[in-house]
């Protein structure tokens, strides 16, 4: 309503109430993050001191210094970056090609294959973890980057989203390019892909978030602390030798803050990306 009728922004009584409620809810939603941040700037002793205090009495970056000096958290961070960037690149490329292939080209057995891909929407590492592990194991890819990356690169959902999108592009665009003498690969890479930027970035954003945060598959695929991603290192190694809460919180922020900072700057694109990929389930 507020957007539709085109009224100027006002401070009517109802707006004041709504804004106060909004601020209260926002405070609740951000409280755990703020609390985590403050904990990471306490000393280990103060973190577990009773009574509980919101703010650190003595601000110290000791926990942050410790996680960099003693653990292999920088390794995990780099591993997370490598894995998520590779997964995102492969997923966007491969599912764009497949989406276009299913939407626009003809080949034998297309409909049967499309049905098979749709059935894959129901499969996840949570459901098929053990057989997936033994499959990857038999390929000799456990405890390797490939073993962490490739099994995340076959998301039927992303193919489906791009398939739907390519079906909606008018054929005339490709026909015009074809008359100008462009081949099918050139049409795809120079005409179709640039037209699909919004959908491709939606798929890319969603894939990157999912891969950066993925816990279950990297957890199964590697036991080597040098190969772990951020979520795995934090959940397994950092928890294994006596809990140091301030360090645990600092590590958690290091894993979580990059995406949140990116979100602050690219809010519009990320919101559109998540809503777009989510809504495609309709």
């Amino acid at each position: 309503m507020s957007a539709g009728v085109g009224v100027r922004k006002s401070w009517s009584p109802s707006q004041i109430i709504l804004t106060v409620v909004g601020a209260a809810v926002s405070a609740v939603m951000t409280a755990p993050l703020v609390w985590t941040l403050f904990t990471s700037f306490k000393s280990e002793a103060e973190a577990v001191a009773v009574p509980v205090r919101w703010l650190p009495k003595d601000w110290t970056a000791q926990a942050w210094k410790n996680i960099f000096e003693t653990g292999n958290i920088t390794n995990w961070f780099v591993n997370s970056l490598v894995v998520s960037i590779c997964v995102t690149f492969v997923v966007v490329l491969v599912s764009a090609l497949a989406g276009y292939g299913f939407a626009r080209t003809e080949f034998r057995g297309k409909n049967a294959l499309l049905g098979l891909v749709m059935a894959g929407l129901m499969i996840s590492p949570a459901v098929l973890g053990v057989p997936l592990f033994t499959t990857v194991q038999s390929m000799g890819m456990i405890d390797t980057y490939w073993g962490m990356i490739l099994p995340q690169c076959a998301p039927a959902a992303m193919v489906y989203i791009l398939y739907k999108f390519f079906q909606g592009i008018p054929r005339e665009v490709e026909e015009a390019a074809f008359i100008d003498g462009a081949g099918r690969w050139r049409i795809f890479f120079t005409i179709v892909l640039p037209l699909s930027r919004p959908s491709l970035s939606a798929v890319g954003i969603f894939t990157f978030i999912a891969s950066w945060n993925n816990f279950l598959w990297p957890y199964m695929a590697t036991n080597n602390p040098d190969l772990m991603t951020m979520p795995n290192g934090i959940a397994t190694v950092m928890n294994s030798y006596g809990i140091q809460w301030a360090q645990l919180m600092a590590g958690g922020l290091m894993a979580g803050l990059p995406l949140i900072i990116v979100f602050v700057f690219f809010q519009r694109q990320i919101v559109a990306g998540v809503a777009h990929t989510g809504l495609a389930g309709q």
């Binding site: 707006q15 926002s26 009773v50 894959g120 973890g129 690169c153 934090i234 645990l248 919180m249 949140i260």
Partner: protein, 315 residues
């Protein structure tokens, strides 16, 4: 002859152009045949990491394979028989179902309310979106650790704020509730965005017409907003049921990869992985995986069936 020619030419040109266009279309169509190359890279990955594991899982479930995969022998349906009579399997399935039952309604209601709020506040719209959605961007492992810290009996924020002295994570009665609270906080942002997008897609003229008819805010909500959100609610409920049945990450992090107080938080995914990787019973774990897949498939197909029925109903 000349007159004939001049009248004939325009038509001839047109037909030549039409023929050329048909030819182009046909050639384009021919060129787009054998499009198998476009789908080949995906199909290869899909075959290796989805189809092969399914087939392998089906085969393994009929054997007594261990983690090394050597010396497995065929045991028929023994694994399935054992699984269906395994009290721990049923208990774990029960925990996953209980979690789903608790968390899905909470997420749906909270996401709807947050979206209504963010949609109707006129000031600083970006700020509400940021605050409501930000937790969704955190890794599950981080969420698990944060909430383990939040629920810590002496030094946690929850007990401090509410003046409680309860050990949330060590009592059977509150163990799953704590996971539900953490999960609600973490994932509500996703459904919130879907609801927000749906609210923004409701044509404003519906509300304008209703306002002219003198409908008050409550009537507009009941008669316009809620019916217009029916589809999105169906989607959110379905996505959340499927995701919640597969819950694993945040639970094991909150309970340090253990079964929780009095074994009250062991989920089905966790039990399957324990059977496979701790007890090395890959065959048995595969059988549970296949049963689990059937449950997921039934939920997914059930939703499709409901959608189709509703479509027929509206026709």
């Amino acid at each position: 002859m000349t007159t004939l020619d001049t009248t004939a030419v325009p038509g001839a040109v047109r037909s030549v152009a039409a023929v050329a266009e048909d030819g182009n279309r046909a050639r384009l169509g021919r060129m787009l045949q054998h499009g198998g190359w476009f789908v080949a890279p995906f199909l290869l990955l899909y075959a290796l990491f989805v189809l092969v594991p399914i087939l392998r899982g089906l085969w393994l479930s009929l054997t007594d394979a261990n983690i090394t995969g050597e010396g497995a022998s065929f045991v028929g349906l023994d694994n399935y028989r054992e699984a269906l009579g395994d009290p721990l399997m049923w208990e774990s399935l029960g925990h996953s179902a209980y979690f789903t039952l608790l968390v899905v309604p909470c997420i749906v209601v909270a996401a709807f309310l947050l979206a209504m709020l963010a949609h109707h506040i006129e000031h600083a719209k970006w700020l509400w979106r940021l605050c409501f959605f930000a937790p969704f961007l955190l890794p599950s492992a981080v969420v698990g650790n944060m909430w383990r810290w939040m629920f810590n009996p002496d030094t946690g924020l929850i007990d401090h704020i509410f003046g409680l002295e309860s050990a949330w994570l060590t009592q059977k009665s509150t163990a799953m509730t704590a996971v539900v609270i953490a999960t609600l906080w973490w994932t509500v942002g996703f459904s919130f965005l879907l609801y927000l997008a749906a609210l923004q897609n409701i044509p404003p003229h519906l509300y304008e017409a209703a306002a002219l008819d003198g409908a008050n805010a409550w009537h507009r909500m009941i008669r316009i907003t809620l019916p217009m959100l029916r589809n999105i609610t169906g989607l959110v409920v379905a996505l959340q049921i499927l995701a919640s049945l597969q819950v694993f990450d945040q639970v094991v992090v909150m309970y340090e990869f253990g079964p929780g107080p009095e074994q009250s938080t062991r989920t089905l995914v966790q039990y399957t992985l324990e059977q496979g990787f701790t007890s090395y019973r890959v065959g048995y774990a595969s059988a549970i995986s296949i049963l689990f897949f059937l449950i997921i498939a039934i939920v997914a197909l059930g939703r499709m069936w409901l959608l189709r029925k509703r479509e027929e109903g509206t026709r």
